[in-house]
Amino acid sequence: MTKVKKILRLFQEDLVVVNLGLEAFAEALRKEDVKVLQMNWRPPAGGDQRLIALLDRLEK
């Protein structure tokens, strides 16, 4: 049986959203009175795949 306590808790809470990407999605949530933070997201390490691989080595 999958545990779903955290998901059920989400269903009881107000959504507090971080929007990573297209602004339209944040605007929609704002119009529906949801607290949302729009990020100014950019590719990590300037998109350099080699550096991203190095960053991932530190994640473990």
Partner: protein, 415 residues
């Protein structure tokens, strides 16, 4: 590994925030600076040989050799510098920091700053003032004469006043200055005023010729950046205890020698990671332009390393106007710095952000991941030695030095 790094960085932050930088006295380079020699010339930034030094630094070296009586004029000084008989080394390798060219020689008076929490010290010369001064590469008779006056009159008089007053809590003074529109790197007027105010009663009470005291006070009053040479060693002795913490990715030094920009990382010990120094993007004094500018130079970026300077830019909106931006820019830049630092300072605050602590302890990993480089605002020197400051502005460190440091960090600590 992620957990180890986090823990190590927390240790670094705890040491940095726990510092108690305190002004304990004035001495001379020869007497106080560890490893100092008569034939040694210290300079700002990571190690650089004479051949590669930029114009202003060469000028300062020449001035230093003349000051010590080791050469009579420019040509003799240059020959001596190139001869191999002079030991050049980074200030940072000797617990010291120097603004602009940052040249320190044997007889120069230095502030003695002590971090009371850990007992470590840091040193810095006294600020000569603006215009044609040694740190901008000037070495004329006037410059040498002023340096001599500073060693013979200014320093001893201030030393006596300091002794009468007792040690000065620098952390507290810097914190106050930040509340008054300073940021401790490019704007030091409030700090200078606070310092004068603190010592004035003791200066006046000294058993010294009144005219000499008057000259000391006039000198201090005429130099808005006097306080910079105090914030710098305060920041240096604050951050130094974090150097060497295993697996910590906090940056413990940033410095430029006019040719290269270098950084040091806590978990990578004393290694320098360098990249080519950038040109400063700023406003120029009348008559000067970008083509007159020297590349970024000086140890003063130790202030950003410790969480003030450019990292407290939102505390000094006046500075931003001077360097060409708007107060909104200052705010945005400071907010960006929160993304690349581990902690918020508990002593240095930004009034405009509801007294939120300044972003402190730059995390190398976050710099690489976000692509956000530490914000530095700094003065611009004329590329020809001795012509002084020609402007001020914002400069970005070279991304390459952070990438190099990062590669070394992952090699050492990565899975």
């Amino acid at each position: 590994m992620k957990a180890n790094i986090k823990k190590a960085n927390q240790e670094a932050v705890s040491r940095i925030l726990g510092a108690k930088p305190t002004l304990v006295g004035i001495s001379t380079a020869g007497d106080a600076i560890p490893g100092m020699k008569r034939t040694m010339v210290l300079h700002a930034g990571p190690p650089v040989p004479w051949e590669k030094m930029c114009g202003p630094m060469r000028g300062a070296v020449i001035g230093g050799l003349i000051l010590e009586g080791m050469a009579q004029g420019r040509e003799e000084a240059e020959a001596l510098a190139a001869s191999g008989d002079i030991l050049f080394d980074s200030c940072h390798h000797h617990a010291a920091v120097g603004p602009m060219a940052g040249v320190v020689t044997w007889s120069m008076p230095v502030w003695v700053m002590e971090n009371k929490t850990f007992g470590n010290q840091a040193f810095c010369t006294l600020n000569e003032g603006l215009g044609k001064v040694l740190r901008y590469g000037a070495f004329s008779r006037d410059v040498i004469a002023r340096l001599r006056w500073m060693a013979e009159d200014l320093a001893p008089i201030l030393a006596k006043a300091l002794e009468a007053h007792g040690e000065i809590d620098m952390k507290s003074m810097i914190a106050q200055a930040l509340h008054m529109g300073d940021e401790g790197h490019n704007r030091n007027r409030a700090g200078t005023s606070l310092f004068i105010r603190e010592l004035a009663p003791h200066l006046v009470a000294l058993d010294v010729d009144r005219k000499k005291i008057a000259r000391v006070l006039a000198f201090l009053h005429g130099n808005d950046h006097f306080f910079l040479n105090l914030t710098m060693p305060a920041c240096k002795c604050t951050v130094d205890p974090a150097l060497g913490i295993k697996a910590a990715s906090v940056i413990v030094a940033m410095a430029r020698n006019g040719t290269e920009f270098g950084i040091r990382v806590a978990g990578l010990g004393e290694r320098w990671f360098t990249g080519p120094a950038n040109m400063v993007d700023g406003l120029y004094l009348p008559g000067f332009s970008a083509k007159d500018a020297a590349p970024d130079i000086g140890d003063s970026v130790i202030t950003e390393t410790a969480g003030i300077g450019g990292f407290a830019m939102a505390a000094a909106p006046a500075i931003v106007k001077f360097v060409g931006g708007t107060p909104g820019d200052a705010l945005r830049l400071t907010r960006q710095m929160y993304e690349i630092t581990v902690a918020e300072n508990d002593a240095y605050q930004v009034p405009f952000l509801d007294f939120r602590g300044t972003p402190t302890a730059i995390d190398l990993i976050k710099v690489v991941e976000t692509g956000i480089l530490p914000a530095i605002n700094t003065g611009i020197a004329h590329k020809k030695p001795g012509l002084g400051m020609v402007g001020a502005g914002l400069v970005k460190p070279p991304e390459s030095c952070f990438h190099r440091a990062f590669e070394a960090f992952v090699e050492k600590y990565g899975a």
